[in-house]
Symmetry: C2
């Protein structure tokens, strides 16, 4: 964790600026996951990435921008959720629910989700950033503005999935922690489908 | 916050041991809400309550016990949720949803709920304690053991409500933060009702 060379990652993009930038994002993602937004300092991230703290400011200006970037750019979560949107509309709820629950158990995406959960509940600023990312993303993916009632129902679907993931992986409440993904999808998908289906 | 006498509270139970105990619980609740489980030290709670740290150990043994006690004994949340269980079974979902959302906006109960949310996502130990309190409570209120599938559906209802409350009050996602309690109850209550209705 305190090596002085950037850690390797199988992306094949470890040359010059883009390699340094990727090393910083990787270290940021790990430390935000481990310590939350407030607990992960620029200095600690720099040490972990094997770079000078000034380089982090060169690439990302400040911690907020680094936090946003580590989620928005580095993570595959947005695109993996987006993949589930195409297909039979009647099974959209099942696809999203299964994918979301799988992301919480995937070695690559789990640290990011833990990072978001930890940072958002301990730092108002991080919570605001996360909310912006969520809503900004929704607006961007749709040309016409989404009516308020529909936006609320989409957000309620997200809130339900978030609550289940926190209960299962953070609180580790036995009925959720011990269930299989299939059992959970069977129960939850009809609810998510109902929220997402246009009224 | 650093006065040397216990702060007053309109309970009328501020005599001798029970008064000191209540002062410690009140300070603990405030500091757990503000700093989370890991951030609130026994020493800081003692300073805030105007007592010697040794007294906290006398009453509560350790921080875990103090944390559980500050939630289980001091808070009115369990009894206020329990109150909604009696009445027309057809409107149980509405009563629980409205009460739960109101608890997150009540001056007395909001700090406890923020404390739980912050502590549970930053400390595995606190998360385990919270899960124990939840499940322990469920089992206690029912003489016969609850079948696993039903327990899972009850927990899913709780997870949904938790996700909505976090989205509204912690992430402050606009579609949830700007909605009225009535709007949210109209959308969510049918889902909670479905989860809680025996299959």
């Amino acid at each position: 964790m305190t090596s002085t060379t950037p850690r390797r990652r199988p992306t094949g993009r470890r040359v010059g600026d883009s390699g340094t930038r990727a090393a910083i994002l990787e270290a940021a993602q790990d430390l935000f996951a481990e310590r939350g937004y407030d607990g992960a300092s620029i200095r600690a991230i720099a040490t972990d990435a094997g770079v000078d703290p000034a380089l982090i400011r060169h690439f990302f200006t400040d911690k907020d921008t680094l936090f946003s970037a580590s989620i928005a750019e580095y993570s595959t979560i947005p695109e993996r959720i987006a993949q589930t949107l195409t297909g039979d509309p009647a099974t959209l709820g099942r696809r999203i629910t299964a994918q979301y629950l799988r992301l919480w158990e995937d070695d690559e995406t789990q640290p990011v989700l833990f990072s978001l959960a930890r940072s958002a509940t301990t730092s108002e600023h991080a919570a605001g950033l996360l909310a912006q990312l969520m809503v900004g993303r929704l607006q961007q993916d749709n040309a016409a503005p989404i009516p308020a009632a529909r936006l609320r129902r989409i957000t309620l679907a997200g809130a339900h999935l978030l609550g289940v993931a926190l209960g299962r992986h953070v609180l580790k409440v036995p009925p959720l922690a011990l269930a299989s993904i299939d059992q959970l999808v069977d129960e939850i998908a009809p609810i998510i489908q109902g929220y997402l289906a246009a009224p």
